[in-house]
């Protein structure tokens, strides 16, 4: 496949002009997946904190606290990389997403600022910062979905497309809510866990709607994607993908039903299943889009910066990658399982 792509472009597979954009696209996809999943449970818990009973909200936010520094960086890294590696796609992608991207910017701004300010605010003012964090999470989740809804239909405009984008936004809020709720039921026992199970059971249906909706609409709105998936020789890919997705949904629903009376040992199962779902959907989207950034219009090679700039970017990535890997492993290393309370500090003497 790599050879044939290179041949279509008239470049050798060893040519930097061919493989560098490809490498950057891979890094970009990795950052996007990390952002959706790792920042995702954060967004989800934020959305849920709006509907949680008042007494549980501080605990929900303090559960997020250790990951905040790492979680909020994925989007930065993604944008930085997109600017350095694919500057010529900005007007064709970001330029067509004025409303969803503005909502995303507002949501992210509110989330980052309100969470940290709440930590440092006196108790009587914490409620409003908490609300700001929840509102920001809601906006972020909605904007992600609405963006996806606009991208998969090729940025077409019209009342039907707007409706689809709004519906996708709503379903994505549910999807992030599901991710957040399953993470919560793994991290915490007691009332919060029981509530999280209820939220997850409500959210999982709308997550299914989002997954199926985005796949079907993408498939039928673009002939190229339809052909790619409908190709007879790759029938097993379609079967395996949908089979895996269906299995994840069914298993997640079953474990959620048994969750309340279940032992604490299996409480990570729904979270892992939901992670798999997200992975499958994102992987499917990437497979459908490859090698385009805008379907049928802009490929990653059209959008890529010149080779010299890419080389510069690659060397910067080589410097930053060890830091990123060590830091992220170090931070995320205890995100599974039940939350352990912090140890009290030891005072010498």
């Amino acid at each position: 496949m790599i050879e044939s792509l290179a041949a279509i472009l008239g470049l050798g597979a060893q040519d930097p002009a061919f493989w560098m954009p490809l490498a950057f696209a891979a890094v970009f996809f990795a950052i996007a997946v990390a952002g959706v999943i790792l920042d995702g449970f954060d967004v989800g818990v934020g959305c849920l904190s709006l509907i949680a009973p008042r007494a549980l909200r501080p605990r929900m936010l303090s559960l997020l606290s250790p990951w905040r520094d790492a979680n909020e960086f994925w989007m930065f890294l993604g944008i930085g990389l997109y600017a350095a590696a694919f500057p010529y796609a900005w007007s064709d992608t970001l330029g067509r997403l004025y409303v969803p991207l503005s909502l995303l910017a507002l949501g992210t701004l509110l989330r980052s600022a309100c969470f940290e300010l709440r930590l440092r605010a006196p108790v009587e003012l914490q409620g409003r910062w908490q609300f700001g964090f929840g509102l920001g999470s809601l906006l972020t989740a909605f904007a992600h979905g609405a963006m996806l809804g606009r991208i998969v239909v090729g940025y077409e405009s019209g009342p039907g497309y707007t409706g689809f984008a709004i519906a996708m936004g709503g379903c994505t809020v549910a999807a992030y809510g599901l991710l957040g709720a399953t993470w919560l039921m793994m991290r915490e026992a007691g009332e919060l866990r029981v509530r999280a199970v209820t939220w997850a059971r409500r959210a999982i249906r709308w997550t299914a709607v989002a997954a199926v909706g985005v796949s079907v609409v993408l498939d039928f709105s673009n002939a190229g994607v339809f052909l790619k998936w409908g190709n007879e020789t790759r029938g097993w890919v379609v079967g395996a993908t949908w089979g895996l997705l269906l299995a994840c949904f069914v298993l997640a629903e079953m474990t959620l039903q048994r969750m309340i009376n279940h032992s604490y040992r299996a409480s990570a199962v729904p979270f892992v299943l939901v992670l798999t779902m997200f992975g499958v959907v994102l992987g499917g989207l990437a497979y459908s889009f490859f090698p385009y950034l805008v379907l049928d219009e802009v490929t990653i090679w059209d959008a890529a910066a010149p080779v010299d700039t890419l080389r510069l970017g690659l060397s910067a990535t080589v410097v930053a990658l060890p830091v990123a890997l060590i830091f992220n492993l170090w931070v995320y290393w205890r995100m599974f399982g039940r939350s352990r309370p912090p140890e009290p500090p030891s005072f010498p003497g």
């Binding site: 500057p87 330029g95 991207l101 503005s102 600022a113 300010l117």
Partner: protein, 447 residues
Amino acid sequence: MTQTALFLSLAQFLTSFGFMLAFLALELGLAWVLLYFRLRARAGGASPWMLAYRFWVRVYALSLILSFAAAIPVLLQLGTLWPDFMEKAGEVVGPLVAAAVLTAFVFKSSFLGAMLYGQRRLSDAAHTLMVFMVAVGASLTAYWIMALMAWTQVPIGASLVDGRYQVRSWLTILGGRLAPTLFGLMTVGGLMVAAALMLAVTAVRTRTRPSDEGDRGVYATGLRLLLACILVQGALAADLGRVLMPAQPARAAAVVPQWHSGPRADLSVAAWPDAERQANDWEWGRPIEAPGWLARDPGGTVRGLDHFSGMTPPVFATYWTLRVALFAGGLLALAALAAWWRGWRLGYEPDGLRPLGRGTLRLATVLACAIQVAGLAHMFIGAMPYAIYGTVTLRELGAAAPDMGEHAGITLAYVLVYAALLLGFYQLLRHITRYGVVPVARRRGRA
């Protein structure tokens, strides 16, 4: 792009960019001030400097949070408001943006957590090193941004080929004549606001309780720092003018304001420029021999605003942003000198301040902020209608036809959110001024 749409886009962008830069500058200034406190605490072994560090590290954290959070909207607005900016200048802008993001990432993930939450686990020397590295990281991040801003003002080091800029020399872009000056202005501006804030907070804190040694130290440090900053920023601003005015003759003409070409410059100290009549009301000043930085024809005629066939910045805003910065600078210098004179006679003792003195010190913060904001606004507005000076106008970069209702609504939402955050910052600052700081903890993996 209609005039209203352009105005809304500009308002939206300048609000978020200004908000980010303001808190980035404050963060940068406070980072170096904190390093000073930390070093003093290490050298003397006395607690007052450590107390000062603990208090001001909170203000630092607040401004860091806000500048960091405000960076995302700025980056996304490059895509939503000026989609063709990357199309035309991606080769220059992309790497600079990525460098700023990566620098922030590397320094934040390696050192910031240890500085803010790890003091107990680190030795004294190691923690001081962390504070130093955080300050270096903030400076580097700011340098990338200032290099980008300098490049849009005087685009050297890259050439426009087929509608796209191609980099000729990174060294020229990064180290050109303007970038170090702008970086210096930003650093000194941040230090100035930090110093003024130190004075104001000390003045308010000692109103209700007697001052301790920490207060006196912060007061004296803040006052000396403020005076030094005023001097250095004056020199840097003059240097900036020497580079910028010849490079951007339309800005120079608007600063005078030279409405018509003529033999002499109509330089005024203050006036009410009226763009429709192309004349000034209530002018205070008189025609003089043209200074060297004004553009002239070979014949010696001073080029007026009528010379640039409409490619001129909005005169009133260009004129007054500069005047506000200069007048506020003068007032601030007077206030600082008065406080210094008082300190020299009576000692740097905030306890003895009278209400008028305390009020003046609080006003000094407002003045210091006004200088920076007006200066920044002058940088941007004076370069209009260009986004990249001399080649690319803002209008070319704008999105084709944003829906006016959506555009106005989103701009309003931005303004409201920024206002709320600013209010929150002020509220928290007032709270810690009154009640002091309770440290917050963040432990890895545990909650």
